[in-house]
């Protein structure tokens, strides 16, 4: 399943719509990094509102996406983690350490704007 990636100014927004297979996640990682390079994006927002489970592979992949994107000088924010999913994740020790998080898309944009204002 192809994850839609939209360009919004200097940001890319990837909206995950349902349960993704491991292969889909790999594909997403590749696609995001390629587009960050192609469009010289400053940040990527990954919206996981529709994910009702997050296993260790998905969590690790999101972290790797964030690390790789940071190597290109861009920020990553994961938004829309559901309360039940967050609880299950931390019980498994999956804390997405070092990756920005926000409640939803709106908050994610606020987070990024504040971050870039601080940098400028």
């Amino acid at each position: 399943m192809e994850v839609p990636i939209l360009k919004q100014g200097e940001f890319l927004i990837a909206t995950i719509q349902a349960a993704l297979s491991d292969a889909d996640l790999e594909h997403l990682r590749l696609a995001l990094v390629q587009r960050v390079v192609r469009f010289r994006a400053r940040a990527v927002i990954v919206d996981v509102t529709a994910m009702d489970v997050m296993d260790s592979f998905a969590s690790r992949t999101l972290r790797e996406i964030a690390l790789m994107i940071r190597l290109r000088g861009a920020e990553t924010v994961i938004v829309g983690i559901q309360p039940e999913v967050a609880f299950a994740m931390v019980q498994l020790g999956l804390t997405l350490e070092g990756v920005g998080t926000a409640l939803d898309l709106e908050e994610g944009l606020v987070y990024l704007n504040q971050k870039f204002k601080a940098l400028n």
Binding site: P83, E84, F87, M89, V90, T95, T101, L103
Partner: protein, 292 residues
């Protein structure tokens, strides 16, 4: 599940006869036997939480239900009555030993009257008791179990109510939640707390949460880990957690389990925590006018 104490093997043609005779005797002598029972109840100082009139009214109902159960051999009506009675007397402070006590007293009073009636015919007395005893035991069981089950139901209800009261998630400013925790936290309550908080963060779109544990005396390692997980889960929802009011004992626990205190934002007291939260949210509190 009630223990089954069914009737013993009576010769088939005899059992219903005997039971009918027994029940007739109990009905005929209802007034005196009830009086005797009430006398014994006050003698043994049971049901002190109730008035004489109340005891009389309940005694009458219990007596009649008792005899009916003996007569029909079915206990559903008695079970229902026992639950109903328990619902009424538990709030009055009637205790389990009192309820079991009065039912056993009734059983004794009725048995004695049977001894008196059939004393001339030992054979017959034995057969009558064979019919009476198992049924009487079953009745005592039914009433006692009904009472205890009702008590347990009330206790569970109260525990639930206490749990709800003890973990309110309060919004004190836009985007700022406070979670004051008081009392003992067991793993189940800790879990409930976390779920409530995460839902609260989403509903109120909170950016900062102050968890105050001034009212928590001690925390074991499991619960301390829960607290850390709560902080981490809140971050996944985009909220920062400030923990305030850590007692020296709890601080020790956290250090001992090796909590990465760099990950946990802590402030001495609730006031300090709220002030820091306001700063994080970009609030500044200034006096409206010059203090005199």
């Amino acid at each position: 599940m009630e223990p089954e104490l069914g009737p013993p093997e009576l010769p088939r043609n005899e059992a219903p006869e005997l039971l009918r005779e027994l029940v007739a005797h109990l009905r005929q002598n209802r007034t005196q036997l009830r009086e005797e029972w009430l006398r014994r109840i006050s003698e043994t100082r049971l049901l002190t939480a109730m008035t004489k009139e109340e005891i009389f009214a309940e005694a009458t109902s219990v007596y009649d239900s008792y005899v009916e159960a003996l007569e029909t051999g079915t206990f559903e009506a008695l079970q229902a009555y026992a639950r109903n009675l328990s619902e009424r007397i538990i709030p009055r402070g009637v205790e389990t030993h009192e309820v079991i006590g009065i039912v056993l007293l009734l059983r004794d009073v009725l048995a004695r009257s049977l001894f008196a009636k059939y004393q001339a015919d030992f054979e017959k007395l034995n057969r009558i008791l064979d019919a009476y005893e198992p049924a009487a035991n079953r009745i005592a069981n039914t009433v006692a179990v009904g009472f205890v089950q009702e008590r347990e139901r009330v206790i569970r209800q109260q525990q639930e109510a206490i749990r709800e009261l003890s973990t309110p998630v309060l919004q004190v400013r836009e985007r700022l939640l406070i979670l004051p925790i008081i009392g003992v936290i067991d793993p189940q309550r800790a879990r409930q707390l976390t779920e409530q908080l995460l839902r609260g963060i989403r509903t109120n779109r909170a950016k900062v949460v102050v968890i105050d544990i001034t009212g928590v005396a001690a925390m074991d390692v499991t619960v301390a880990n829960h607290l850390v997980q709560t902080v981490e889960a809140s971050r996944l929802l985009g909220a920062t957690v400030i923990v305030t009011g850590l007692s020296p004992e709890i601080a020790q626990t956290l250090v001992t389990i090796g909590v990465d205190l760099g990950k946990m934002n802590t402030v001495g007291d609730l006031q300090g925590g709220i002030e820091q939260a306001e700063k994080l949210l970009g609030y500044k509190v200034v006096p409206v006018a010059e203090p005199r």
